[in-house]
Amino acid sequence: MARIEFRNLGHAYGPHPSAPSDFALQPMNMVWEDGGAYALLGPSGCGKSTLLNIISGLLTPSHGQVLFDGRDVTTTPTRGRNIAQVFQFPVLYDTMTVYDNLAFPLRNRKVPEREVHQRVHEVAEILGMTHTLKQRASGMSADAKQKISLGRGLVRKDVSAILFDEPLTVIDPHLKWQLRRQLKQIHQQLKLTLIYVTHDQVEALTFADEVVVMTNGKIVQKGAPDALFERPDHTFVGYFIGSPGMNFYPVSLDAADEQGIRIGEHRVEVGPAQVARLKRAHGALRMGIRPEFIELAPAGASGALEAEIVNVQHLGTCQLVSGTVAGHPLKGKLAASVALQPGRHWLRLARPEAIFFCNDERIAQ
């Protein structure tokens, strides 16, 4: 087990990176605490796997250092790092039995056979696979194979961290849930550092204590699931977390107006403190509001705008409305009890839950 630290770590696949776009991973400082369960969330191609491969040593970063418990391991090869990694598709040694698959990492390290036997049985117990130990690994189902891949990571006692690279992609939905719960149990039992890469926000939010959101090779926010939902630091987080994502509206200010802002041609009251903060910011201003926080309002009410609602979908527990506000798209999740027909309605958008962004970064309250 180890505390993993990045110091000015960045990676470029090309030889002479100069512009930020040359970096697959923007230079960053970051700490993964010992025993933490982290989810690394981001769209495909955002640098998640690059980051993971740097931790495991499959890739040597072009810039900066990686430290395990303060020890510089930047150039240490994978074999010397004691990292376990589970890949997107189960990797098995087809010709071996489950037992031999689990024993493989230990035998490679010349662990005495007596200890191998003991460790393999311990791990099989944790994974609930004791009865399949003598079966051939190649004929098993995808979730069993993925469990064996995981088991090969757990079987080593000295493992610093376990990395998961979208491990549940090939697993059936009902088993996904089971396996994820088992992962959580293993984490609580063994107190290992887990880093879990995924592009599925539900997976990330249910699995991790702390979610790290990445886009374009950059970590844009690191925080607990509720923080990501309530206080996204970046418009990307607002858009990526939540289903549907946050609504964004460009904001302009009138020099003379101390009370309100303009969204398109409409004036919206937000109070003097908020207006003062916005006036201090330099850059493109946007207001973000989560669909969950939108509500109907009386015509002309403060903070409300007139919206054109095009579509109302009843989802049982709520209704999903979509339409436009001041020429920008709108998605809202309203209580199922509100009677609503497509047409023009007044909606309160500038609520306390609304968040203002300047150049995509959240403006601190």
């Binding site: 990797v91 087809d94 071996m96 039995t97 037992y99 003991q118």
Partner: protein, 296 residues
Amino acid sequence: MNKPYNNKAWFFILPVFLCVAFSAILPLMTVVNYSVQDILSPTQSVFVGLEWFRAIMRDPELHGALLRQLVFSLCVLLVQIPLGVALALAMPSKGWQSSASLVVLSMPLLIPWNVVGTIWQIFGRADIGLGGFALNALGVDYNYASHSLDAWLTVLLMDVWHWTPLVALLGFAGLRSIPDAYYQAAQIDGASRWAVFRHIQLPKMRGVLMIAVLLRFMDSFMIYTEPFVLTGGGPGNSTTFLSQYLTQKAVGQFDLGPAAAFSLIYFLIILLFSFVLYNWMQSAGNSAPTTEGDHA
């Protein structure tokens, strides 16, 4: 079960069946027909039953050719399969080097059989051939036209040169189909280079290697053109393999009956060996025993 049963589907395979009938089944039946008759002239023949089979089985020349053939095919497999796998492993996997090595490797495969024979016939000559001249200059008394062993080794070497690339290309294709994650997982599991070969590369190549073994066995068992051009079966009959023996019987001496009987035996031998090889390799991959010790 309300499955509609009708036999109309059989009509779809009729064209293929007719083609195969004319190209394979009818000629084969003709051979069967010859094998049980003594053909005296085109209009005169006598039914002799299994007489030709009995005669051919007792022919010492056949025994010699069969033994030579078996040893030859065995050597071909023992040399070409490991060598091909080694080449496949050594080939660069990316960039222009990869394309270049593929082209170079494919070259022998593109040369017609009789040209291969001619190339080696000239190459091995002591007076004008580079190989033969060099060997003799080094003090090796090499002459494929008069020493049986030299002739035999030259035929083997020629076959290795001609066909090892096929094994290498098949192996290379097998290797390329292994996802990177396997190598990465092996690194994480601390596997040695040998363990990676033994537990990842070899099992993943099993399918293509099986094809390679079967192809090389069948092809080498039927080898005809190259030794015919190179040595003509000599010196003596040291490089007379089965197909050449058969040709001498059928075309040289016009012993159609014995030749037909032998053709059938030849065919059955190849079928039997291929069947045995295939099943052996299939089961070799499917019955890995557990190595769990009793330490409990």
